[in-house]
Symmetry: C2
Subunit: 226 residues, 2 copies
C-alpha cells in the first residue's frame, strides 16, 4: 500500500511564517523523572503552525469556525498537481488550465458528497526553512479553482498566498466553501491521483486546525469515495 | 460508509485529568478584526489532553519518544469491546477472556505488519466530566493483552489506569511495544470490528501525541490491511 506522510514536523526549530518569533512553538516539560514517576509536557503553538486547515473565520468576522469541520471531509479523492517547474513565483489560472489539459483532468466528474481536493506541489517542498519568496496560488488561480468541483485546496507553503492586498486567494476559496490546507510537505510525492486522509485535531471554536495529512493510493477507499 | 469520530473535543471547558488546573488548555487570540485583517490564535495545551497516544517516554526515561511513531500505524484493524455493563471499576484478564470467548475472537489470526488494535468501551463514554472513579484497564488485563497479537490499546478515559502504584498497566503495554490511546469517546459506537484511522499531530521528541481518531467500516481498506 502506498502511503505518503505529507505533514510538517512540529518542533522548536520548525519554519514559521516570515520567521516571526511570536509564531514559534514553545515546548514546556511539566514533569520529568528527576521528581516524578512520569514524564509529561505541554505545547504552546500558533494554530497556523505546520500543516493546518484555514477555516472561514480566519478571514471573515462572520465566517464559520472549526465547529463546521467534520470528518466526512477527511477522506477525499485528491489530485496532486506538480508546479515545481513553473518560471514565476505564483500559480495562475493559465498554469492550472495548461496543467489540467495536459493531464486530461475532468473537472466536472462527480465525486459524490465528499467532492475532491487539489494539492499544489512547488519548489517550496525542497526547502526546509522559510522562504520569503515562496511560490503561492495567485488570485486568478483561486478564482479558477472556485469555479470547479473542488472542496479543498492544499499547498506546500505556510501561506496559500503572499503579499496580495486584501487576501483575494483566501477569500475566493473560503467564500466558495473550499477549505484551505497549508504547510504541506510534498517532496518526493509524484504527480497523480490519491486518497487524501486529513485528520485535524478536534479543537472547538477556532479559525484554524492543526492536522496530520497522508496520501494513500487511490484504491484505498470503498466505492462511495471513488 | 460508516464513520464514527471517536475523538474528544479540545475546548476551554474540556474535562482534564483529576480536574487539575495545570492540565487545562489555554486559548489566546493573537490577532482579531478590530486591529487586523485576519483572525489568528494560539493554543497552549497539555499533550495528554483529550484524545492522545502515550509513547514509552511517558513512563521510561530511556523510552522511545514520538519520533518512533509513523503513519504505517495509522490504519489498523480494530475490535471495539463493550465493557459498559461490568460490575466493578476495572477491566480484568478474566473479563477480557470472557468477552473474547463470547465474541469467538481469534487472537492469533495474522494481521500482517500493522497488527490490530483493541478499543475498550466503558460507562466512561456516558459522562462529559471527569469522574474520579473512572473505569480502567486492570494490570491483569494489560498483561493478558500484552500476550496477544495486539499493537495498540485504546480506552474512553483520560488514563488507561487509575491509582495503581507503579503504573503496571502502562508499563506492561509499553514494554511489549503496544501503544496506548487515551481520551476516546465511544458512546453510540456498537461493539464490533472496524478500521481505526488514527492520525496524531507530527510533533517531534515528545512523550505523547494529541490525535484525531475515527472508526471506519471494516471493508474500508485495501486487502493488505484486512
Amino acid at each position: 500500500m502506498i502511503l505518503y506522510d505529507i505533514s510538517s514536523v512540529i518542533a522548536p526549530d520548525m519554519p514559521v511564517y516570515k520567521n516571526r518569533d511570536e509564531k514559534r512553538p514553545r515546548f514546556v516539560t511539566s514533569k520529568n523523572f528527576s521528581s516524578s514517576p512520569v514524564y509529561e509536557g505541554r505545547l504552546d503553538f500558533d494554530l497556523h503552525s505546520g500543516t493546518h486547515i484555514d477555516l472561514p473565520l480566519h478571514l471573515f468576522p462572520e465566517g464559520d469556525n472549526s465547529d463546521s469541520w467534520n470528518c466526512t471531509h477527511s477522506f477525499t479523492r485528491s489530485y496532486l498537481l506538480d508546479f515545481s517547474r513553473i518560471k514565476g513565483d505564483r500559480i495562475t489560472a493559465g498554469e492550472l488550465e495548461d496543467k489540467t489539459r495536459d493531464l486530461k483532468m475532468d473537472w466536472h466528474q462527480s465525486f459524490d458528497r465528499t467532492g475532491f481536493t487539489i494539492l499544489l506541489k512547488t519548489v517550496n517542498s525542497k526547502l526546509d526553512k522559510f522562504n520569503f519568496s515562496f511560490v503561492f496560488l495567485d488570485h486568478s488561480g483561486a478564482n479558477f479553482l472556485a469555479r470547479q468541483n473542488v472542496t479543498g485546496v492544499g499547498i506546500d507553503a505556510l501561506g496559500i498566498e503572499r503579499d496580495q492586498p486584501g487576501h483575494p486567494t483566501h477569500k475566493a476559496l473560503l467564500k466558495s466553501g473550499i477549505w484551505i490546507l497549508e504547510g504541506l510537505r510534498l517532496d518526493g510525492v509524484p504527480e497523480g491521483e490519491y486518497i487524501l486522509a486529513l485528520l485535524p485535531l478536534k479543537i472547538s471554536g477556532v479559525e484554524a486546525l492543526p492536522a496530520r495529512a497522508v496520501l494513500l493510493s487511490p484504491d484505498s477507499m470503498p466505492p462511495i469515495y471513488r
